[in-house]
Amino acid sequence: MASNSWQFAGDGDESDDDNFNPAPADMSDDENNDKDEEHNHNHRPAGKTVRQASSPVPDEEEEEEEEHDEEEDARPAKRSRRDHHDDEDEEQDEEENEEIDEEEEEEEEEEEDEEDEDDVHGGNRRKRRNKDRRAAFFDIEAEVDDEDEGEDEVGDGEEIEDFIDNAHPDDIADSGRLNDDRRHRELDRRREMEASLDAEKQAEILRERYGKRAPARGYGDMAIVPRRLLLPSVEDPSIWAVRCKEGKEREVIFSIMRRIEERMGTKNEVPITAAFERGGVNSVMKGYIYVEAQRQNDILVALDGILNVYPRSNMHLVEIKDMPDLLRVIKTPNLEPGAWVRLKKPAKHAGDLAQVIDVTENGLEARVRFIPRLDYGVRDDPVFQADGKRKRPGVPGPRPPQRLFSEAEARKRHPRYLQGNPQTNSWNYNGDDFENGFQVKDIKIQQLEVKNVNPSLEEVTKFASGAEDGTENLDLKALAATLKDSAKSVAYVPGDIIEVYEGEQQGVIGKATNVQGDIVTLQVTEGDLAGRTIDVPNKGLRKRFRIGDHVKVIGGSRFRDEVGMVVKIVDDRVTLLTDQTNTEITVFSKDLREASDIGGQGSLGQYSLLDLVQLDATTVGCIVKVDRESVVVLDQNGDTKQVQPSQITNKLPKRKFAVAADRNGSEIRLDDVVREYGGQQRQGKIIHIHRSYIFLHTTTTNENAGVFVTRANSVTTVAAKGGRNTATAGPDLSAMNPALKRNPAANGKQMAAPRTFGPDRAINQTVVIRRGGHKGLLGIVKDTTDTHARVELHSKGKIITIPKADLSFKDKITGKTIDINQRGGSRGGFGGGGGGRGGGEFGSRTPMASGGSDRTPAWGSSRSTARTPAWNRDAGGSRTPAWNDGSRTVNAYDGSRTPYGGATAYGGIGSRTPAWHSGSRTPAPDGFGHGSKTPAWSAGSDSWGSKTPGYGASAPTPGASGDAWGYTPGASGGGNSSSAYDAPTPGGGLSAPTPGPYSAPTPAAVSAPTPGAWQGGWGSGDAVSAPTPGALGAPTPAAYYSAPTPAAYGGVAETPGGPGYADDD
């Protein structure tokens, strides 16, 4: 140190000053004393700090000097040195300077000693203050530096003033002061230089100091010998492969290590030189450890008694040439940002796909983003929360589904745990970071599954769609890279056209003829090697397609089972135009396969194409497209939507017998071909009927797989399945008439009779069986159902069940046939009334019955039933106006009109006939009243025609009735009647299921009073009959009204002729 100072004193140099600190240096040289001094004072500390910071060398040198002392006791030595300094107070400035420096350094290094030395320091300081005059700068400065900070500031100001005051009158030589200043700076500069120059030396020192513990073994003189010179030779120990328990390789190696160390230096040292394992879950070398030793026996000795290793059962010598392969290391490709990985560690996310955002420098940790699984505390157990205990993570509940982070949800429950920035959409919630909805986390790469990630496109698209602008920025390249190193190699089958894109055979194209493991045998089809057969590993292969090829997507793509035509090929990405949807999709060529079939698969789980499914309580839809994991559904409103199978409530079974009515009221069923009325007039086959909606399938369009939906009442039948005669038969009114439905017994047989209430009158009546094996037997009705009666036979004493229609009721006393349903006073009139007809018991239909009052029950019913849907339906047709005209309402309630007024309206259906008017003016009952006067009746009475037509009505041959009617002026009416017969079903007329038959005779009967009128009426009726004449007659009140036909009997019964009947009977 001392020598340094002297040198410094010696070579004070102006230029050095400049270098050291240019700006102040100029000033110091050229300006007056005041400034100089001020400057001096100001810049010195700076210089000093520089020195302090950059002069470890002197420190260390000093330390070295003292190192020996340090061991024993540094303090006494230093103290003595200080004492020595104290003694030499009068020494030159340089020396003092040095001394101070030294002291400072000591203080820095031995702060722990400071307190002990305080008195010493104190003494020093005092002395220094005393010699202010003589060595103004150094002492003050040093003192300031030594002082505590608070003192420092105060002292500073004072001293500066002192400084200036003292300097001016000071008689110290200018040159001397300049010199001092320069020396100081020089010293600083030198030290700085030393620090930089001596780096090597420093390093040496450092090495000496720290290197003692571990001798630098081998590194200095170790040159890298090429590996080929290291290849094993016979001189080297041999390596044996020893069987061990799978998964325990590492443990075994450590056990060997322990044994080696334990026996080291004993007489039975482990005689092996090395042992290693290359285990691992996916390693082919698992289940073995490899032991290097001179002799095989050494290994037996070494491994004897070590767990999990079986040296005695299985030991192979590894050939020398194979030895290097045992230690081959293949570099794992570094994770690149954008790559896909799967998470292993946070148990909640195990198996989830994640994308690498960033990788740390050493490649051991990666920042990944993945879709969080948050329940936002919904499932937090409040008890645990209260305790402050955390649930054991080892007990995972059902993990929440993957959902992007929602700030709102987080805020709802845990506003306190949420911090973030809405601008960047980055949040911290419960200690986890979220960016753009994704959770972002630093994860060690051993907690990531890097190989065999096999991300499915679904998973990947979840990430891609997260782009802010909504665009899909799918990095297919990264995806391809990820997929490529998947161990699941592409399956090639013989016949595939394959291209070699990597390796020696690059560019070769051929057809696979054989595939064995990873080796594909190619029959080369193009190029120089054409015709040759080569074997290539399937690593560098890809399937080759040509534009225009018809291919099917197989494998892991989202588009699996799509079939289409190749339109573009870029590397191993193939774009194809799908057959089904005509959309372009891009897939990897490995996922493609030459296709022979067309179209995709038709089902997804239990749902298949064209199925009707329930989406929610009010929505049903027809599946029009089946994707791999979703289906497209056309709902009843005509909207298509893509739904997951989970969104489907259930599948609606096809109801074979579902029936709807088209706009004409025709019955439509599944598989009927119908056409839209109006609109686009689309035509299609009914595939589903749901309520009033029908789903139709057409082959004329591809849209929605040809399915469209419409309302049932906006289609017309084009062709009914199986040739059901829907168009001509008209609506099945009996099926539509609720009144009929209410009385199923009558359904299909005849018009429903007005219901009679109370116990069946038939019970306890005496009856005669008219048909079947028991025909003619007498019995008593014991019990009845709607259709059948249980009759206790007088003769056999047993009870049989007979259709009511086969019974004729007899008066118990007189034995006369009676109508049990007669009511009131009219009953008397029926004393001998003809109940010949099976349906006769519902004689209420007879005009007579109602005839008691001025309206027939039929009318009554017609009035009530006039409002039945059937009527309304018809009302929708040409007949409507009349009905809707309110003839029903007005007339019906208008007292001035008879119910026939209604009939009038009815007549109005077919351009009402005056006849009807007249007829209405002469109500049927009247007509009946005068019935005997009508030709018809007269005819009937003459030839029992009245009966005949009646029977004719029930007789299958309209002709018969025609004949019967032929007599009558209503002959024309008879014609009508025949047409009426035609109308529903002739047979029906017979069996009287439809009112038609009744109506048939009716008009005639009714018309009897006013034949002409009737003709007109029926003529118009015929005109009207276009849609359904019979129907007209049938359900209409007219029919009912006309029910008088049977009532003809009734009429007869009523009429004076009635007894005649009775007589006949």
């Binding site: 090495r207 720290y210 290197g211 513990r213 571990a214 630098a216 073994r217 081998g218 590194y219 200095g220 170790m222 040159a223 890298i224 010998v225 090429p226 590996r227 080929r228 290291l230 094993p232 080297d236 120990p237 390596i239 390789e249 590492r250 443990e251 190696i253 450590f254 056990s255 060997i256 290590m257 322990r258 080696i260 160390e261 334990e262 482990v270 092996i272 030189t273 090395a274 042992a275 290693f276 394992e277 290359r278 285990g279 691992g280 290097e292 030895m323 290097p324 230690l327 081959r328 290391v329 293949i330 570099k331 794992t332 420098e361 050493n362 490649g363 051991l364 060690k444 790469i445 051993q446």
Partner: protein, 120 residues
């Protein structure tokens, strides 16, 4: 006695030096440093340095009983090192500054992550 033995329960704390590939527990690296590379890696007592210069990801454990005689040691270029447990492959990369230091010191750094084998 057997200082290089690591019980199975402790094996998850194992780390491998990226320079010499020696495998030890984190605690040992912290307490003793790397027996081969301490000169320039200064792992002792420096968790940061341990984090950046050693790796938890390594495979293929090798017990070297006699580094001088063993061919395995020679092949793995471990023949100058102390006996102990090494890894055949250590994933991870040495930080650049450490790498430069090594170069400056004239020490040939052999990457242990498999990238060197391709060069041969």
């Amino acid at each position: 006695m057997s200082e290089n033995y690591v019980a199975p329960g402790q094996q998850r704390y194992l780390r491998a030096c990226m320079v010499c590939s020696i495998v030890m527990t984190y605690a040992r690296f912290r307490d003793e440093g790397c027996p081969n590379c301490e000169d320039f890696l200064h792992l002792q007592g420096s968790p940061d340095q341990i984090d950046s210069c050693t790796s938890q990801v390594f495979e293929g454990i090798i017990t070297i009983a006699n580094p001088q005689k063993s061919w395995v040691a020679k092949w793995q270029r471990l023949d100058g090192y102390v006996k102990g447990v090494y890894a055949t492959k250590v994933s991870g990369q040495l930080p650049d500054d450490v790498r430069t230091t090594l170069e400056d010191d004239g020490i040939q750094y052999i990457p242990r992550d498999g990238s060197a084998t391709e060069a041969d």
